[in-house]
Amino acid sequence: MKPPPFEYHGPVTLGEALDVLAEVGPDGKVLAGGQSLIPLLNMRLAAPAHLVDVNRVPGLDGIEAGPAGVRVGALARHAAVERSPRAAAVQPLLRQALRLVAHPVIRNRGTVVGSLVHADPAAELPAVLALLGGSVRLASRGGEREIPAARFFTGPMESALRPGELAVSAFFPALPARSGTAFHEVARRHGDYAMAGVAAAVTLDEDFTIAAARVACVSVGPVPVVVDVTAACGRRPASSVPWDAVADAVRERIEPEGDIHATADYRRHLTGVLAVRALRDAAGAARGEES
């Protein structure tokens, strides 16, 4: 299996990259880490006429962690974000999710922003961005726009990215004080895409009752499915939440499909179980417990 022929472009500045992308328009595809794109090329599921390799563009590999959140540049590899102590301190869900992304060797090359743009509903990072209400910054020759997660993922493998645009960074907001996160998934084999997976974020009040709780589910819809379960949890401490009812509330909101890996019913069941595990861990983390 080899990639089909394409015209290769290796811009060395951002301006040059945006010029090439503007020129080739819908015939162009951006190459960053390539860990999703090159398999698609090798299997001939994609055949772009022009490949714009941004690996030589300086200044795109930043990981900036501040009180408001973490901004990750287009060339920041999964491994670099996973290992960043500052990113983990500001938004621990990043590291929790990245450890579940494929294998360490893939994470050495694959990029966080690339995963978002690839917009696979079975992938972890789109769920993280959706759960946190983050955003993706898109640059083109005409300027920049910042698209919130809720409008960025438009369908399976489809995003709001337009021809001529380059996703230059993504922003993962920090959570308020007394918040915790967790990510749980079940895959047939370690490192495979999950049959079901749930990212959770819980914020507690000063008296440790649940003030806000939500989950983002993977592999159970065309885009990551975010469900606010604050009402289902009720204003109680995590120890007295009716977890079965919370699992049901999540199951009601998803529309999984069956395939050779799992039936729709099994995915629905798993998602409820994983949601409770992730929410309990997130609540524990919000109280400052190790999960």
Binding site: M1, K2, P3, P4, P5, F6, E7, Y8, G10, L31, G34, Q35, I38, P39, L41, N42, M43, L51, D53, N55, A79, A102, H103, P104, V105, I106, N108, R109, H190, G191
Partner: protein, 163 residues
């Protein structure tokens, strides 16, 4: 179709090598076909099996998911470059001692992956060793001897470091 060809310069196992390749040439094919280094094996060609793993600037990557043009100017280490002064490396010796290979097809990928892993984590736990090999498929051994080899390689590496 006349494809545009690109001149790439790679430092492979410490030797500067040049090749002229189309943009779509995979690093795995560049190493094997253009540079004649057939130690890097090609299994699935979509990133699943790990047989083609090489070190790019010291970090393990799938050479079948990397274009040769992208890594122009970078350093590559393949299985041919793991031995030192004709002596097998600790990881290579451990694989031989522990019978961590049978047909050997997957071995170059395991050796490259583990060389970097043990450099970064010279005394791994059982769980860390398992995670380290989880991205490489082996259809012969059942992995038990490969896991033994990871720990044996760590010992050999420590002895060498101490010598």
């Amino acid at each position: 179709m006349n494809e545009t060809r690109h001149r790439v310069t790679l430092t492979v196992n410490g030797v500067v090598r040049e090749a002229t390749v189309p943009g779509r040439r995979l690093l795995s094919d560049c190493l094997r076909h253009d540079l004649g280094l057939t130690g890097t094996h090609v299994g699935c060609e979509h990133g699943v099996c790990g047989a083609c793993t090489v070190l790019l600037d010291g970090e393990p990557v799938r050479s079948c998911l990397t274009l040769a043009v992208t890594v122009d100017g970078h350093e590559i280490t393949t299985v041919e470059g793991l031995a030192r002064d004709g002596e097998p490396s600790p990881v290579q010796r451990a694989f031989a001692e522990c019978h961590a290979l049978q047909c050997g097809f997957c071995t170059p990928g395991f050796l490259c992956t583990l060389t970097a892993f043990l450099r970064d984590n010279p005394a791994p736990t059982e769980e860390e060793a398992l995670e380290a090999v989880a991205g490489n498929l082996c259809r012969c051994t059942g992995y038990q001897n490969i896991l033994k080899a990871v720990h044996r390689a760590a010992e050999l590496q420590a002895e060498e470091g101490g010598a």
